[in-house]
């Protein structure tokens, strides 16, 4: 009888186990669906709020509120995290595009190193231009108009500052992660977070994992693929994988952007520039020249790009 009971117990547990596992999975899916059902599109509002929170943390609490923004400026435009990540990438590699101001400073977008210019000079010039723009944009407080405003500034952060040390820069991550969880389709969060994880905090594995999560949820995103390509190139020092991923990014751009009213030309420039950099490192001069031809069509300063393309062609001929 004991043996019979044991057999019955074993049989029951074996037959129930798959159902319980399926139930647990369903629960997890329903839970996330429940959050979506309960919060609806307000999740995206909160996601945007927490993304801006990360930017506010980057500035140690000194940040304009919705009442401080200039007329016509939306919340999304004042995100310096993204601009800082793009600016810092430019400082690392002079072929990278400058994303700080799309409309005004197109010369930087496909900026090749000026002949004869030392690296440090270029960095300093770049940094000064950005710092100046940062200060202008964040002088939102202005002169105080009455004693209440003047007195009140003693009780909140009222000077512009950035987080400098690694330990401090860590502090923006919880808000970025929360923003990604609330709005998984906000591509920018994945790319900015991955940049900070990879370059400032030395967490390449975590950056890759986060980008892959973003890619799973946004399979058509060329921005995430571009960042993943940079991770392989700069973080993992794996140019072959980087090349494959960046070419995939280029393919995604070609399949998604041209049909849009305003295609993301800056994204295209970034992808092409990254590919050109890899071609330069590998000595693939012909391929690099071909990509520079494509880049010339969208660059603000085609002359500079053309000069570089000729340089590449020259090297290709010399190489034979």
């Amino acid at each position: 009888m004991l043996f019979g009971l044991l057999s019955a117990a074993f049989t029951t547990s074996v037959s129930l186990e798959p159902n319980l596992r399926a139930g647990a999975k369903r629960q997890a899916t329903e839970a996330s669906g429940l959050l979506e059902t309960l919060m609806g599109d307000s999740r995206r509002l909160f996601a945007q709020h927490f993304y801006l929170k990360a930017d506010a943390y980057f500035h140690s609490g000194y940040y304009p509120s919705i009442f401080d923004r200039k007329a016509g400026e939306t919340q999304g435009e004042a995100v310096h995290l993204r601009e800082e990540s793009t600016r810092s990438s430019d400082a690392e590699d002079h072929h990278e595009n400058d994303g700080h101001d799309h409309s005004k400073d197109l010369a930087h977008k496909s900026d090749a190193r000026k002949p004869g210019m030392e690296e440090k000079e270029h960095d300093d010039e770049h940094k000064d231009a950005h710092d100046h723009e940062d200060e202008d944009e964040l002088k939102f407080l202005g002169e105080s108009k009455d004693w209440i405003e003047r007195f009140g500034r003693h009780f909140f952060p009222s000077t512009h500052a950035h987080l400098e040390s690694r330990a401090e820069q860590n502090e923006i991550l919880p808000w970025l992660k929360l923003s990604a969880e609330l709005d998984p389709n906000k591509v920018e969060v994945y790319t900015v977070s991955a940049y900070w994880l990879r370059t400032r905090l030395g967490k390449v594995d975590e950056a890759e994992e986060f980008l892959r999560l973003g890619w799973r949820l946004n399979p058509e995103s060329h921005q995430i693929l571009h960042e993943l390509g940079k991770l392989f190139a700069e973080g993992r020092k794996d140019p072959i994988r980087a090349l494959n991923v960046l070419e995939l990014a280029l393919g995604k751009w070609r399949s998604t952007e041209p049909s849009k009213k305003e295609p993301d030309l800056f994204g295209l420039q970034q992808i092409l520039t990254a590919l050109v950099r890899l071609d330069e490192q590998a000595g693939r001069w012909s391929e690099g020249a071909r990509r520079l031809q494509l880049l010339k069509e969208v660059a603000a300063d085609p002359a500079k790009v053309e000069a570089l393309r000729l340089e590449f062609e020259q090297k290709a001929k010399q190489g034979g």
Partner: protein
């Protein structure tokens, strides 16, 4: 006069320790803070500012609830239970009663704040491995002055409005609105048409700027306190001025009201 008010305040304080409000709110704050502190963010345990911000936000919410709910029921409860008659027959003047209720609620808020900020300091120190004691002290002090203004405002509401719940709701909304919008009221007024613009501009100068007492951003981001001892004295005086105004207004209304509910 003060002796009687202190005695009434002592009774209020003892009553507050018997109620569950503080304990429930403290446990809730502690559990939420510890839970958020255990969240894995990219395998890094050194992040602390988000935790400090969450903790301080919960502390502000909790103490605001304690201040408003405790002050809102003081005088209405005395009238409802008819204990106000023997109290005023002692004799205790209406001013002494109002002042005593204020002292009791104010001290209760102070004790609650002390416990909350002690918890906050422990959490901060456990993650950051250093303690910005000056910031914590200023935050505690300014928060306590904020409570004084809110308690006084709620006591005024308790003698003006008919029910404690309506009073509590209005005071809670008023305090929250001033905290979030007070600094920007003038900017908001600029985008309005008359007469709302004038009303908001008058409100900007007339209402107590409770945001002066909120230095959470300075504490969270470890900014050294940018105000001097003189500024601290000024803001304390500012808080004391509004507290006195609300208490005197509460007394002025209360002395004209019938004692029966």
């Amino acid at each position: 006069m003060l002796r009687k008010s202190w005695a009434i305040g002592g009774v209020v304080l003892k009553e507050m320790t018997r109620r569950k409000d503080f304990y429930v709110l403290f446990i809730l704050t502690a559990v939420l803070t510890v839970a958020m502190g255990s969240v894995n963010v990219f395998d890094d345990t050194r992040m602390v500012r988000y935790l400090k911000e969450l903790c301080l936000t919960l502390v502000w919410l909790a103490v605001l609830v304690i201040a408003v709910t405790s002050a809102a029921r003081q005088i209405p409860a005395e009238r409802e239970h008819r204990t106000i008659f023997p109290l005023l027959a002692k004799p205790v003047s209406r001013w002494e009663l109002v002042l005593g209720k204020f002292i009791g609620c104010f001290l209760a808020c102070g004790i609650a704040l002390f416990v909350f900020y002690l918890f906050f300091a422990i959490i901060s120190f456990s993650r950051e491995r250093e303690l910005f004691l000056a910031n914590c002290f200023y935050a505690f002090l300014l928060h306590w002055i904020f409570c004084a203004v809110v308690v006084a405002m709620t006591l005024l509401g308790s003698v003006v409005l008919s029910t404690p719940s309506a009073n509590a709701t209005l005071c809670f909304l008023a305090a929250s609105s001033i905290l979030f919008l007070g600094r920007h009221l003038k900017q908001i007024a600029q985008s309005m048409h008359e007469p709302l613009r004038s009303v908001l501009q008058v409100g900007y100068f007339a209402l107590p700027h409770l945001e002066f007492f909120d230095i959470r951003d300075l504490v969270v981001h470890n900014h050294p306190a940018p105000f001097s001892a003189g500024d601290l004295a000024l803001v304390t005086g500012y808080g004391a001025l509004y507290t006195t105004f609300f208490l005197v207004a509460a007394w002025a209304v209360f002395r004209r009201r019938p004692l029966s509910a």
